[in-house]
Symmetry: D2
Subunit: 370 residues, 4 copies
């Protein structure tokens, strides 16, 4: 019977409130060539994860142990095993192990029994917990907050008046509003765009990546976005609700969208929740295995939310709105994806409060960006 | 016993080489309130999918049949059932049904037996096949092809010389190359950027979405990208190979990346393949359920490849290279994600052939974009 | 002797406080074929211009009178003639006529005596006054006023922090200033530019056209400028003062400028004043002849002042400053023209007040725009 | 009588084919305290300029001689003096001196006699010739040459098709032209702009500065322009010809322009030629006085021609054309200044040859840039 010295390592798992001990010892209850490489956590039962991953199992000096055989491993009083006896366990495999309280130690523990063929020697294993059912959050809306702005109808007026006044035209700010309205309407109709640039709005936006993908095609804006390289992304995903038309008819470029059936909405909801949860579990698993965030994130779906600050001026915003909202009175109808339209609607709502005359002129002019 | 008239509908499934017949008929072998709503495909066995989704099951004039009970459905000689008898089947559910050859008809068929409570009546069902194990393609490289260009060192020279010559300076094109080299070096050192703009390169690039996300933050470029709204995306995913360092050390903003362990690469490979395949299956399932592409794609991971044309001039490209390559001699070191760096390397390779003097000056100047 | 009926027309001349009467009548003191087509202004002597232009002189029904001969025209007691007797006067010619008080009428008058060959008939002439010595204003400085802004160091901090925080990071605004300083310094050194874009500054600037020419090469800014098509430009011109080095040494692209001699400054002052005054007189003359502003302005020199609003964010401004100021500690020295540097200095002064930490980091980093 | 040692310096004057000697010597024919500081040129009479400027006259060790008195200076047989005897001459003053042939030396010479008060000593003078009547060139047209391009209708097609094809779509280049036409028309109508960006046109343009001023407000283009800091600008000026309507009617922003009278055109022609020639003479004078080009150029009018290379793609060009041409079928009429419209017409002519289908679609769509 090979002699096995347990030597454990593990990755830090911030979700566990205690130390993790890993040890390997001969198991009396299994055949001679098996050892139980167990690990135990000194913590309460709730904190004890029951999905663990065998990161690595090696015999120092002899290379890794691939395909070590797993056997049922009775632990304490109640076995609680999620492993098929006789399965081959590879590095990277995830095992579901019901943990239990070990009477002698008071620790909550789980163990993997390994069949080690060949001569005696130390076995080093690395394990870490894997969140079995990652709690994902599902949203069907967008966050759009105007966090700062320097934008008013007066900004359009003074910028335009310098053409004909030539002097500082800021005194005009509180001048005759009817005249300002006429001027702004004229600029909009004649597509004199530059006076609409001397203002600034900064929004904080949370939207799924597939929305950001479209948003960032707009080059006349400033962006700073949450980084999947610098931080672990939160499990918040977009799933359309039943107000979102999901069946597409019509021809390329001018699709119409119709209400789906209950079955379709059910499928979307179930399929997306399931798929996002699995993807996020894979992400978590890779992270917990010490893989860089920028690599692990590759499995995350484009429905995951990301946060960014977006700064635009009114001219850029009008261009955005002309392309990203579908409106009755549009001179040039557009067929945006609904989700970016939701962002556009929120932008428009904020903007129309800041610059009501400009907004009204934009609408009156058929929503053509000057 | 309720009388049931079968009336089938199905979605077109281009993967099946034959007609799909759907019918419902009383099943002699099941209790009175059950009917077998089967479907058969006239084709060879290989073409017969064995995952089917019950899109919809309704009794016309009486609304949808939710929660119809499924029973084991012996079909032909060998049942091949993947359904738990007695399970409730909802619209949208996917069932794994081994199909078999029906001796009497020669058709390959599968069927779902439905327990219908209540009065007799026609039952309309919609089924369509679901790819059980979507074949995904995995790549670890980027496609970068220079598809057209109008770019040479001479373009820099004539543009710069107009400053001092004031006339058409195109005659200089074939002039003294040493002088051209000196001029280009001077422009680069002194950061006179505009002469580097009078040229154009168009690349065809295939890269994962997470690369495009970074790429499109570069606003001085022109993009046209494959649309997940207009076409069904192909199941091609990026998975890093073992040359890609995957373990990150160092502090935020200037990470170093180290070689991973075999176990880590194994995990990445397995986890990403599994996750991408599942995500793509969910995508396919939603598509086959008639859900719009722009909705179904939300589950796809950022590792899926997307194709685009990118047009840039040399000045914009130098800015891109200064930020997206990590090079020894850089005045301002950058820490790009490896995958966008792969695109950058390919760009640089093409560009250095088109504009060798400019490229050499860029490198000599510490890779600072002018 | 031909009979001549005077029939006058003239353009409005806002500089003259009285009515302008134009009449043609036989002149007793000149030969038979001459008439005096005079004009008189009922005003005081100071208001009476003494440069007049014969816009047009025609005989209705017979076409224009080209080349009418002028003779010395004694008017009132003192002739005060600026015309060479016998000169041919064409439409468009300008004549300097000393006006005098006509004793009989009390009007101040000037007249042009025309020799009309051929049959009798009415003569219609158009005259208008020409400002002989236009009052020009000379300046040696630039006007730069910050008229509105939404810009603070905190804007950089929240925009950058979203990368790693992923949530609304506005709460950080009043957080630990030392940390903010460290973050901003890091962003500047590493050339992470985008966090410097979420702010906005609008300046009112008055500068000569040659400065605007350089300014507007900066494409990342918003401009609205006084229009020479929509308004008559004011006679305000830039003339360098003696603090402006005017002698250039060194080689192309890195000129040094040295103090000029007194003689050189004298020449600049005299030559520019003279040249600008003449150009402006030509402008005025064309305007008063009914020529469109957009045409008349073509003679105006690039030293004439023009007003504009300029809106930029801090990133664009840093790029501007890196190119338009010559500073000791610059990583990449620049050799701007002094006059745009004056604008840049004023920008920098305002900006450093709004964003002192960012400004200090910019200076510490060698004035390289991130 | 003070003893005066002549010691001459002068600036290089490339217009004079011989050496310039400057000397001061006592003049027998003038009072005791006068010397004649003359200069002579060994060349033919035609090459001898007759406008000279006294750059500087100083007595080494004693400061500059301001206000030296000039006297009539008989030279050789024929005096040919343009100076009022007894006038005070300051550094920087220009004197018209008819030169003549000096019988003894064979040199053509002019001289300035200076009355020097005070003790004896050497006098150093600097003179240089001034072009009295600068030869200016007048043009009424624009130069627009397409110097390089990579632009075809096929570029639009492949860029657009990647949306739906997802693969390299360059094979489509020679595909069905009718289909290409349909696609391009669709893109234009629906305002899908990005496919029009994957092309490039570089123009060499010579236009007056007032045209460049408008042109460079277009920020989506690349410019390299002749530099008035780096080179002496050529005396080529724009003067509108009689096909250019010069009288403006209508209200601000939508002016109509009408044909001018002969007198108006005469005035424009005469006034502009005169004004430009004078401005250019002042420019030359300052240059010849050693004043930096960037300073001297300030007097030059905005009608002086400047050369530049302009690179744009078709989308940017369509935006330019939509604003800078006045066309019947425009959805949004524009009222450009005629001269920039001349540039726009030339651009459009070249572009329509390169991309005829795109051009036709632009026109058919009401000349709205997508």
């Amino acid at each position: 019977m090979p002699r096995i010295d347990g030597k454990g390592e593990q990755f830090a798992d911030p979700g566990i409130a205690g130390a993790v001990r890993i040890g390997a010892r001969p198991d009396r209850r299994v055949p001679d060539n098996l050892v139980r490489a167990g690990f135990a956590v000194d913590g309460n039962e709730e904190a004890m994860p029951n999905r663990w991953r065998v990161e690595d199992a090696m015999r120092p000096g002899r290379g890794q142990l691939h395909g070590i055989e797993l056997v049922k491993h009775p632990l304490g009083d109640e076995p609680g095993i999620g492993l098929a006896p006789g399965a081959n366990l590879n590095g990277g495999d995830v095992v579901d192990i019901g943990c239990s309280r070990e009477p002698r130690t008071g620790w909550h523990a789980a163990s993997v029994a390994m069949a080690v063929n060949g001569p005696s020697g130390a076995v080093r294993i690395k394990v870490h917990s894997v969140p079995e059912h990652p709690q994902i959050t599902v949203r069907s809306d967008m966050t759009v907050e105007l966090v700062k702005s320097s934008a008013s109808d007066a900004d359009v007026v003074f910028a335009a008046r310098v053409s004909t006044v030539g002097e500082q035209s800021m005194d005009d700010l509180d001048a005759d509003p009817a005249s300002a309205k006429g001027l702004i309407g004229y600029l909009m109709r004649e597509r004199h765009g530059s006076p609409f640039e001397h203002n600034s709005m900064t929004f904080f936006v949370q939207a799924p990546i597939f929305v950001w993908r479209e948003h960032m095609r707009h080059r006349i804006a400033s962006y700073n976005e949450e980084s999947g390289r610098y931080r672990e992304l939160k499990p918040v995903f977009y799933v359309p609700n039943r107000e979102r038309n999901v069946v597409q008819v019509g021809k390329t470029g001018s699709y119409e969208f119709l209400q789906g059936t209950e079955a379709q909405y059910d499928l979307i909801d179930a399929s997306m929740r399931e798929s996002c949860a699995r993807s996020y579990a894979a992400y978590q698993e890779m992270l917990s295995a010490g893989i860089a965030r920028e690599v692990a994130r590759m499995v995350l779906p484009v429905s995951i939310y990301s946060s960014a600050y977006v700064t635009m001026n009114a001219r850029a915003l009008m261009n955005f709105l002309s392309l990203r909202r579908k409106s009755e009175g549009s001179q040039y109808p557009s067929y945006p994806q609904r989700e970016i339209e939701m962002v556009a609607e929120a932008y428009e709502s904020e903007w129309s409060r800041l610059m009501p005359i400009t907004h009204a002129a934009f609408v009156a002019g058929g929503r053509v960006a000057p």
